[in-house]
């Protein structure tokens, strides 16, 4: 077991897809500590799998 670090109180966000990341960024920019917990090994969720998004056809990643 690794030693426990002291963590500041903040907000917990479960899920690191587009919604979770957006919520985390907004909180963090408002000077609130965020813990972003994701089940899979990386962030991005479904949107990272998409090619382009309508209607602007921007790259999804």
């Amino acid at each position: 077991m690794l030693p426990k670090e002291k963590r500041e109180k903040g907000v917990l966000v479960l899920g690191g897809g587009i919604a979770g990341i957006q919520a985390a960024l907004d909180l963090a920019s408002s000077r609130i500590k965020v813990y972003l917990v994701e089940r899979s090994p990386s962030l991005g969720g479904r949107m990272a799998q998409l090619d382009k998004t309508f209607p602007t056809m921007d790259c999804a990643i």
Binding site: L12, G17, D26, A28, S29, R31, I32, L36, F54, T56
Partner: protein
């Protein structure tokens, strides 16, 4: 992805919540970090281990179409970029001895004994953003998914279309690797079903638009394509700009839309072609359509993991496995547990832009419980290095593992740089961005008295801020740093031509060094922010935004043109999906407003606004004040029919909004204008989906009609709904549509080419005539009342007034434009000004509430800090050269330049640094050369051009 780098975000991947106790404002969360077997602080993501790993398994990210190793990162741009070992497939077990990855890892990052970690975190609130899973299409056996090679899902197609996907973006059919000519898309696979094998009962919302987009991409990739046929039930292009996007696809004759749900797909065993058996829903004709490939538009289902999470959180799931909402406040963000919020697809399926708005909204709600927890940002004082004297340039060449060094001759590059004028030091490094590389760079800057730095590495888009920070930490002005992208522009794009790629890298680096010789230090300025907000409009969106900001402790002014708060709520009876009383909802919100500190000004209009981000001077008919940010929540109007469908001519033709009023007044018996109706006919899309009146879909009218039809039907009224597509998107809408059909509400389709005709005499309409499509004959429906489902249109007068004051761009539809259709739904291109609710497009109550909260979150991002930092890479005017022609004032999109009197009788341009984006348009336009674009001056750019051609002269 910025989330990985933000100092206030700790990312815990490969982790899950195992416990939550305490109450809103004071939760204790237990999180289990599952073992990764690779140390995050050591792994640089070089990829050596992947080459050495002997195990290949299907890649989940490529939906099984490509392969990956047992040690892997899910995809190239993954955050974090640390590798992970898939223990189920790894050959390092008690009795197996493979440890190739560990042996060859230069950084000793592999850690087979990793047991993971349990952490406990104190949090004020929890946001659920658990997303969705793709419906398992193999459950519908009649479509042959998994059986026939050429049946793909929409998610598989996304990867095939992507240049970094398993086929490098070439579209081939899996059976014979030939480009397909005829493709069928099958909609609602796993959605709008009857449960069980036939799929979920709800509509998955995104698949219609996804199919339209994929058809258009297909056509772009393969111009020779012969046929793209979409088999659908209703085409649900319901969202801002969606209908217009759908209409645009009609310009491509290869794309055809056929109404019908195929019964099965079979395969021709010889050619591997597919035969789609389908009944045309309009003509009743049954036919067999031979195609090369079939795409199943798979719907979304709730992740299995929601069950365990629901138990941990103590929140119930709905019948579909999504988190249940507390509908009390009409909000789509609140769960039954105080302090726990949902966004995205956690409580039901939503598309990307709504998910983003909900996410910001959930952030605002969570901030209500966490506002006291704001962390202080400590100012750091650093002594600046001496930057005077001739340029002493340090050039750092990054190998990026094998990304750069695998293609370019890095030693040759080093030699070519060493003798360039001004270069005092050159060094190569395996991973310059890693902590170790950055430390080395800092040491060399100090050791060799370097006063300019060039990094030849990857993309400045993601890495320039990292290098600039490292310079700044040791006191070197960050604008004395220049980045050259030799990865994306050389080694990646010219992988097969290492020599010419190296030559190109030499040119680019020489240009970077030339620019570095002319770099000048620039300083970021800070301006103070007024920590208060103006909300314009007192409807649901405006009130929600004001309440959220008030809960976070900010000063809020709300102005409303009308004499009372409530907006559209005051004209409604029940609000779907939960059939909440509009009056109750309005009353609850207005009471909350009264008990809040929000300064509400009704019967108040806006006179003018001047200033810029953080510092707006507002003048209203009820006094003047100063604010730091502005939210526009002025709503929209319903379309007013003029000489259409007998409206205004016959007394018994009314609009859906007039019916709302009638239903609201009705007690036990429904009376419409003095009569008790036996039959009511609804006509949909009045003032919507019509390029001459309003091209867009108004989105709210289909669910509203369902709500009204059910109410009438429950009172014994015969109801017929005439429609083009029933677009019941949104929470529980499809289920309500199903309920209406079960109650006996009749739905008859019409086409825009043959609109329903209202026939009557005197002041009374008697019949509606409609062309029945399946029978191809005219039907006359006798009726007592006709209800026109009117669309939502922008409030022209108020929007043009606001446009004049704030210069926010309006779309072709007259609604205000958001910064980005997907990623910035409540932001505008003007910093400090935000949108909420119907001011940017038609929306229902729930979506407007989510937008109100989202706008509050975005405002908080600004005003939670007392200062805003301005980027110094802006434009500046040499007033001695300026002749005050005013062309810069005309050309600027951001209102940054203005003409002022600099001495008696002498005018000159000046640029407001807070408004300037540094785009350089004015600098290139200026006829006298008085304007220059800092960090991209003519001198700097010219020196780069000279450096490029210098070599070619030799």
């Amino acid at each position: 992805m910025d989330a990985g780098r933000h100092p206030n975000i700790e990312v815990l991947t490969n982790s899950e919540l195992t416990g939550l106790n305490g109450r809103a404002g004071n939760f204790r969360a237990q999180v289990r970090k599952h073992p990764r077997y690779v140390k995050e602080d050591r792994c640089t993501g070089c990829g050596q281990c992947v080459e050495d790993c002997p195990v290949v398994v299907p890649n989940e990210f490529e939906v099984g179409m490509g392969g990956r190793k047992a040690i892997y990162t899910p995809f190239a741009q993954a955050v974090p970029n640390t590798y992970i070992i898939d223990k189920d497939h790894c050959l390092n077990e008690e009795f197996l001895v493979c440890s190739n990855c560990a042996t060859n890892c230069d950084r000793d990052a592999i850690f087979f004994d990793d047991k993971g970690e349990d952490v406990e975190i104190e949090v004020g609130a929890v946001i659920l953003a658990t997303g969705f899973e793709v419906y398992d299409t193999s459950a519908i056996s009649s479509y042959g998914y998994g059986l026939y090679d050429n049946v793909l899902t929409n998610m598989e197609l996304e990867r095939v279309l992507n240049a970094s996907g398993p086929t490098q973006g070439h579209i081939v059919r899996p059976s014979d690797h030939k480009p397909p000519k005829k493709i069928a898309f099958i909609q609602c696979v796993g959605s709008r079903g009857e449960g069980g094998e036939a799929g979920c009962e709800y509509c998955s919302r995104f698949c219609c638009m996804n199919a339209i987009k994929d058809c258009m991409l297909f056509k772009q990739h393969e111009p020779d394509i012969e046929e793209l046929v979409v088999y659908y039930i209703d085409m649900r292009a319901a969202g801002k700009g969606f209908e217009e996007f759908y209409q645009r696809s009609f310009d491509m004759p290869e794309i055809k839309y056929v109404r019908g749900r195929p019964s099965k797909i079979t395969e021709d065993p010889e050619t591997m072609d597919l035969i789609v058996q389908v009944e045309n829903g309009e003509t009743g004709e049954i036919y067999h359509h031979r195609v090369d490939m079939a795409i199943l538009s798979a719907g979304a289902v709730a992740p299995k993991s929601n069950e365990k999470l629901a138990e941990v959180l103590g929140i119930e799931l709905d019948g579909n496995g999504f988190f249940s909402l507390d509908t009390k406040y009409g909000s789509p963000l609140h769960t039954s547990k105080e302090g726990v919020f949902v966004c995205g697809c956690a409580a039901g399926v939503n598309d990307i832009s709504d998910s983003v708005a909900m996410a910001s909204g959930a952030a605002a709600e969570a901030e209500g419980y966490a506002a006291k927890l704001r962390v202080e940002e400590e100012p750091v004082e650093i002594k600046e290095l001496d930057m005077s004297g001739p340029p002493r340039i340090g050039v750092f060449l990054c190998h990026c593992g094998i990304n750069i060094a695998g293609v370019l001759d890095v030693e040759g590059l080093k030699d070519s740089v060493a003798n360039l004028p001004g270069v005092a030091y050159v060094e190569n490094n395996m991973f310059l961005c890693a902590d170790e590389g950055q430390r080395m760079m800092q040491e060399k800057i100090i050791e060799h008295n370097l006063n300019r730095v060039v990094a030849a590495a990857c993309t400045p888009r993601t890495h320039e801020p990292i290098f600039q920070d490292s310079c700044e930490q040791i006191g070197l002005n960050p604008y004395l740093f220049e980045m050259v992208n030799v990865r994306d522009q050389c080694s990646w794009v010219h992988t097969n031509h290492p020599e010419t790629a190296t030559d190109k890298a030499k040119d680019l680096i020489r240009m970077g060094v030339a620019k570095a010789r002319h770099l000048q230090p620039l300083y970021r300025s800070k301006i103070n922010i007024t920590q208060s907000v103006l909300v314009i409009g007192g409807g649901v969106a405006g009130m929600r935004a004001a309440l959220d900001l008030d809960a976070q402790g900010f000063k809020v002014y709300l102005i409303e043109k009308q004499g009372r708060l409530g907006g559209m709520l005051n004209h409604l009876t029940k609000v779907y999906p939960a059939n909440l009383s509009a009056v109750d909802l309005a009353r609850t919100m207005v009471e909350k407003m009264k008990s809040s500190r929000v300064e509400v000004m009704t019967s108040t209009e806006l006179n003018s606004i001047s200033g810029f981000i953080g510092n707006f001077d507002v003048s209203t008919t009820n006094g003047d004040f100063k604010v730091g940010a502005i939210i526009l929540a002025t709503g929209a109007e319903t379309y007013k029919p003029v000489d259409e469908f007998g409206y205004g001519e016959y007394d018994n033709v009314i609009t859906n909004i007039e019916l709302e009023g009638i239903l609201h007044e009705a007690k036990d018996k429904i009376e419409i204008r003095g009569g008790v109706p036996e039959t009511v006919v609804f006509i949909q899309c009045v003032g919507s989906r019509d390029p001459e009146k309003n091209a867009g879909c108004s989105r709210y009218c289909c669910p509203t009609t369902i709500k009204q039809a059910v109410r009438l039907r429950e009172n014994g009224v015969n109801v017929v709904v005439l429609h083009r597509d029933m677009r019941t998107v949104g929470a529980k809408s499809e289920e309500h549509y199903r309920h209406a059909r079960a109650l006996g509400v009749k739905f008859v389709r019409y086409t825009p080419e043959r609109l329903p005709k209202v026939i009557g005499n005197g002041k009374k309409a008697n019949n509606v005539e409609i062309l029945e499509l399946a029978l191809n004959r005219l039907l006359e429906i006798p009726t007592d009342y006709i209800v026109l489902a009117t669309g939502m249109v922008p409030n022209q007068t108020s929007n043009s007034h606001l446009h004049e004051i704030l210069k926010i761009p309006q779309g072709a539809d007259g609604f205000f434009m958001e910064r980005h259709a997907k990623l910035g739904p409540v932001e505008t291109t003007t910093e400090g000004v935000f949108l909420a609710g119907c001011v940017s497009g038609p929306r229902d109550i729930a979506d407007s509430i989510a937008q109100g909260s989202a706008a509050a979150a975005k405002v908080a991002c600004f005003i939670a800090k007392d200062k805003v930092t301005l980027d110094p890479t802006t434009c500046t005017v040499d007033q001695t050269l300026c002749r005050a022609c005013g062309q810069c004032v005309e050309i600027c999109d951001y209102l940054a330049p203005s003409l002022t009197m600099i001495s008696p009788g002498v005018m000159a341009a000046q640029i407001n640094q807070a408004l300037c984006k540094g785009c350089g348009t004015c600098a290139s336009w200026c006829p006298t050369g008085a304007i220059s674009s800092l960090h991209f001056t003519d001198e700097q750019i010219n020196s780069m051009i000279d450096a490029l051609f210098e070599e070619q002269k030799v």
